[in-house]
Amino acid sequence: MRIFENLGQALRGLRLNRGNTFLMTLGVMIGIASLTVIVAIGDGIKVKVLDRIANMGFGPESFSVIAGAGRMFFTRSKNTVSMTLEDAEDLLALPTVRLVVPRQRKRMQIINKKEFTSTRVYGVTPDWQLARGWNMKDGDFLSDSDLDRKKRVIVLGATPTRKLFKGEDPIGRMLRLQNNFYEVIGLLEEKGLTESGYDPDDRALIPLTTSMSRLTHETHLHSIKVVTLNPSQVPETMEAVRQILRRNHNLSVLAADDFRFVTPEGIMQWVTESEQALNRMLILISTVSLLVGGIVIMNILLVSIRERVREIGIRRCFGARRSDITLQFLFESVLVSLLGGVMGIGLGLALSFGLKRFDVLPTHMTVEPFILSFVFCTLIGLVFGIHPARKAAFLSPEESIRSQ
């Protein structure tokens, strides 16, 4: 087949003109590398967020109310103190609500003699366990009487247990948080690291009342989790919750909510919207950088053809048709573009891995950038190769054989 002959000649041409070949790949390589990295970051963020949702312990029938206005996943606009235990009690009174879990949260050091670790400490009610459906590995969960008596007891997740006790039996042992000692009464079952590296076991639970009076010294709640009887009741319940909270917080009609809802759907929507915005940016950036890559290929190929006029003349003398010369140089540009793509993917993978390894940004590899790059590179090679290739093909054989 003639086409394979020309492909072979193109490969030979690229090998013999290594310098030009390398220069030609640079533009495309950088374009594809950036495309790979951006796609990897986008996917990484998405995976991380979806994973977080999956591990928030949300069922389809539940949602969270978080104190403070503002957008999801962004820092609170201000430290809001308006959400209280009374709010939680009012919400529980709603007919569609099955469970309400008011919650405080603080990251702090837990100390066992010489061992210490920093973990997320939650002040919760006994219903937390029901709402999360999290089983005990050993001991008991917090009880109503612990809550009523503001007892200094603590339930540990698997991660702090491992760090603090190193194989000893923790039940009944005393741990220090700030200046108070807490008795370990229970251990949560281990869930294990999630795909994105989030550790759901890195937590400790104490009674909400104890947290209020001894740990945070705050009477307001950080969030309330609401579980409805039935998934279909979520929207109406959310509306009812909104009205109760607005009334309780004495918000005027014009004032914005001083709380926000977090639902799996809400997060999903946010992720999808951000992903779309990211994709638009990605398309723009990669189009520009690949156009630049294509122009680089075209220009260097034009220079290369000027250097290789003699070669073209020789080929024409021995029977190469215009179409053979066109094909040969078109193959060269497509191959160079693909080579740049492969190098770009390599570079992109290395960068993505680096970003992930050094915790700069979450990245995730999919097959998508590979397919995209392959298509883009072939197109770039064809589009920007055709002009130089035609130019080479239409050189006069007589003149090119005589050129020095």
Binding site: L16, I314, R316, F318, G319, D324, P397, I401
Partner: protein, 235 residues
């Protein structure tokens, strides 16, 4: 039958409004198996004549029948095929592809052949052996001497078994010893029935051929063949 039949060939180049007439009404017939030299000072139109003869360019006017086929009006595709199948070129500056081995350089015309033979490499080896290059198959032109390069080009011109060998100053870049070797090769090719057209300005080289045509100012100034025939007639 004439293998090459050029009738009233004219070729002119247009350059920034000036028309340069390089060939003026050249008529030249060459029979199969002829050994002919084309001589003339530089600028006389030798190379242009060779380019037209080798189907590298087409005449501005006139008729060129190659092997009975009018090639003056062929399109690029057909013209390329004629070059590929009927003509073998040998150049003064060798014109081997740089960085490519002798073997692959010899194979080059078969890359563009319509029906390349099955045993391409074997055939290329045989031809290289024939010109005494069997020990240099995998050397690139840069590693070969001028004489060796010229032998590779001769092998290349023969690979597709063409009827005509067009040699443009084949000894121009060679020392006398290699020049003599090259001419011996051509002499042998004629014995095998090839038609050889030598373009040269060296009378000693030209005299290897049985017929010498000299060109001056784009016209044929003399043709030994006609003179002989003329002298026969005058007897």
């Amino acid at each position: 039958m004439n293998l090459i039949e050029m009738n009233s060939i004219c070729k002119s180049y247009r350059n920034i409004g000036f028309e340069t007439r390089v060939l003026k009404d050249v008529t030249l017939h060459i029979e199969e198996g002829d050994y002919i030299s084309i001589m003339g000072p530089s600028g006389a139109g030798k190379s242009t004549l060779m380019a037209i003869m080798g189907c590298l360019s087409q005449p501005s006017s006139g008729e060129y029948l190659l092997d009975g086929e009018e090639v003056g009006q062929l399109n690029d595709r057909k013209l390329s095929r004629v070059r590929n199948e009927k003509i073998g070129f040998v150049f003064q500056a060798f014109h081997l592809l740089p960085g490519v081995t002798a073997l692959e350089n010899v194979i080059l015309p078969l890359v563009y052949a319509k029906r390349p033979p099955g045993n391409i490499k074997e055939r290329a080896r045989e031809l290289l052996a024939k010109v005494g290059m069997e020990h240099r198959l995998h050397h690139t032109p840069g590693q070969l001497s001028g004489g060796e390069q010229q032998r590779v080009t001769i092998a290349r011109s023969l690979i597709n078994d063409p009827r005509i060998i067009l040699a443009d100053e084949p000894t121009g870049n060679l020392d006398s010893k290699n020049g003599i070797e090259t001419m011996k090769t051509f002499d042998n090719l004629v014995k095998e029935g090839k038609t050889i057209v030598l373009i040269t300005h060296d009378l000693e080289v030209a005299q290897h051929a049985g017929r010498i045509v000299s060109i001056r100012d784009g016209q044929i100034a003399s043709d030994s063949d006609h003179e002989e025939r003329g002298s026969i007639h005058s007897l």
